[in-house]
Symmetry: C2
Subunit: 385 residues, 2 copies
């Protein structure tokens, strides 16, 4: 028994509320159990937070029955940590096991929760995947050939899109860390500094300001804009006249922020200045459109009317336990916005072939409209030469 | 055209050599194309390096035909970065697309490479998963119903286990960064400092010493050992008499190190001291056993003879583009060791229930035996009180 209890995370009531919402939807969908295999899905119901998912070796399973509490079927290396959660039914084996890497245990847990002829729901739609070997998936279906496997009816997507106040608090706290790190950018960015060095130093600033971990950092620099928004940094030095963009997904207590800032090294030219102004206007238009009852597509159209569509494929997205979550701000997304949804507004403008600007802020939908989670940018800051 | 070419990564010859080895094995296995969907699999043949995989929204596909060059079927957001690689056939679409998220493009690319009645190989065994929605996977198989889908015959596992000199150089460089960061631990760890603060500061040290990114950091502290090796840090302060363990997977140019160090806050008691000495002996025994022609299981047995089996399920593993890779150092793994394989040696000892010590070093198999990639620990360092 470790006497140093963690001061973070949620109490059991948060997870019981999530479970109750899931089970209500499972009853409506005729699903007798959910089978979950990915980090955010398992954590959503258990609070099981570890960076060990970085190791692809071992599968992890959570069975969420239509009635009763979840059953964790996990490698023994995780049993000690899972035992600190509210989950009481933890079944573990010494993984990796080349003969049977948890499949017998998992099949037993599913068989207990799902009578023959009934449905096991597995997240199968957009933005999901099944984190287990395909051969084991086939073996599981064969083992439980008298049960039915099908999609989860979008239950996980629907549940996770609407955040609790505790989740919103954590996302806001992550945004605050990012804001403080961006405020210190002049300490690390000036002409002659390699972009890779700026990336390293910015991650250090984020940690120094309280981030637990910086899973995502992208960015770019170039005269009159940059070529893409997902590249790693090169050793090329920053130059006077560059626009520098950094886009961070740092994590605090298991939740992400995801926003970027642009900086001009010295005075910005009129084209960059105008484009950045237009991006801020587009964000404001998206903010105004992001109300309960509007659709994700409405927010997209409000921004696209000002900045056009985007080369990156969308103008924002959900945010929470993952860097990007449903919905997508695209014309085809008719998700109805509800209080508690957290979104990024991420318009982009192409100034020339291979020269774009992207700006991103984070918001939460409230009863009466949107609230900022980031402190929205008001201008293009200039870094001294 | 960006005039600032990246100074990192590999030239096309590295990827052509990997492709040739893959195609030789595909010919032997009767596989007409590999379908790859995960970050390391795609990067292995393309060099496509981005932290954007942190976003689960979009699928990414690589088709490796039995003859000719790979075809990248990827979201348009990645086309600019992929075009900087040696890959010339890049097919992209604006993702997310709720009607068709790349499946038509992917089916076309596969159909071109694979005549009806022939096999498409998909990694399906241990430590793999398919990173695409299950519903899209079913749709793809339906679309290509006259082609055969099956496992990849272990080709990806076999290829990736043996590293090139360029890969080994990068892993060694990552280990060197970790070594320098551990050498500075006295700057950040002393009684009274919360473990979470040590975690943040250690990541900053790793970045300051040249890490691109710190995807993995685990650790623990406790009197007489710790309870597990995958937990996140709590705000509990370090105490005199604790054993502090930090286990880092930092990344440099796309390759990981993975090793840990233990520290005693003040003098260690005899039980901790003896256990740590036994762990170092076990590592030396594993190192001596890790020769070409030996099996992974032989290295396991050499270490287990000294420290016993491990609660974490194995005594080491492969290492490279991922924090953990095949093989596993367990009794059941009969992988023949070959020159170029990179392994971690990771023995553990339980001192009491909930009190263990784990030690980890990284090695590479050479023609005549193992070489160190880390500078192996020689004693349990004592941090001043």
């Amino acid at each position: 028994m470790d006497m140093r209890a963690p001061s973070r995370g949620f109490g059991p009531s948060e997870y019981r509320a999530r479970l109750a919402r899931a089970q209500a939807r499972m009853a409506m969908s005729g699903i007798s159990a959910l089978l979950l295999t990915t980090e955010p899905e398992v954590r959503y119901f258990t609070g099981f937070l570890t960076r060990f998912w970085e190791s692809p070796t071992r599968p992890w399973f959570l069975v969420v029955p239509a009635e009763g509490d979840p059953v964790a079927v996990i490698p023994s290396i995780g049993a000690h940590l899972m035992a600190q959660s509210w989950i009481r039914d933890i079944r573990s084996w010494s993984s990796p096991d080349y003969e049977d890497d948890g499949i017998t245990l998992l099949a037993e847990a599913l068989a207990e929760a799902v009578p023959p002829g009934e449905w096991i729901g597995v997240p199968s739609g957009g933005e999901t995947h099944l984190r287990m070997p395909l051969a084991d998936w086939e073996a599981l279906k064969h083992r439980l050939h008298d049960r039915l496997f099908g999609p989860d009816g979008g239950i996980m997507r629907t549940l996770r899109m609407v955040k609790s106040e505790g989740e919103i608090d954590r996302i806001r706290a992550a945004c605050d860390v990012g804001t403080r790190a961006f405020a210190r950018l002049p300490e690390i960015a000036r002409p002659g500094v390699p972009l890779a060095q700026v990336f390293r130093r910015f991650q250090m600033l984020a940690l120094d300001e309280g981030a637990d971990w910086v899973p995502y950092l992208a960015g770019a620099a170039g005269a009159g804009g940059y070529g893409d928004v997902i590249s790693p940094a090169t050793d090329a030095p920053l130059q006077a006249g560059d626009v520098l963009m950094l886009d961070t997904g740092l994590m605090l207590d298991g939740y992400f922020c995801d926003f970027d800032r642009n900086f001009s090294l010295g005075p910005a030219g009129p084209a960059v200045h105008d484009a950045h102004t237009r991006l801020l206007e587009a964000v404001q238009a998206g903010f105004a459109a992001a109300k309960p009852g509007a659709r994700a597509a409405d927010v997209f159209h409000a921004m696209a009317a000002i900045c056009g569509g985007s080369e990156v494929g969308r103008l924002g997205h959900g945010l929470g336990m993952q860097l990007t979550e449903p919905p997508s701000l695209i014309a085809a997304d008719d998700t109805l916005l509800e209080p508690g949804m957290v979104l990024t507004l991420e318009p982009g403008i192409a100034l020339a072939p291979g020269r774009m600007l992207v700006h991103e802020e984070d918001i939460v939908i409230r009863e009466t409209g949107a609230d900022w989670l980031t402190k929205p940018a008001t201008h293009l800051p200039e870094l001294p030469l």
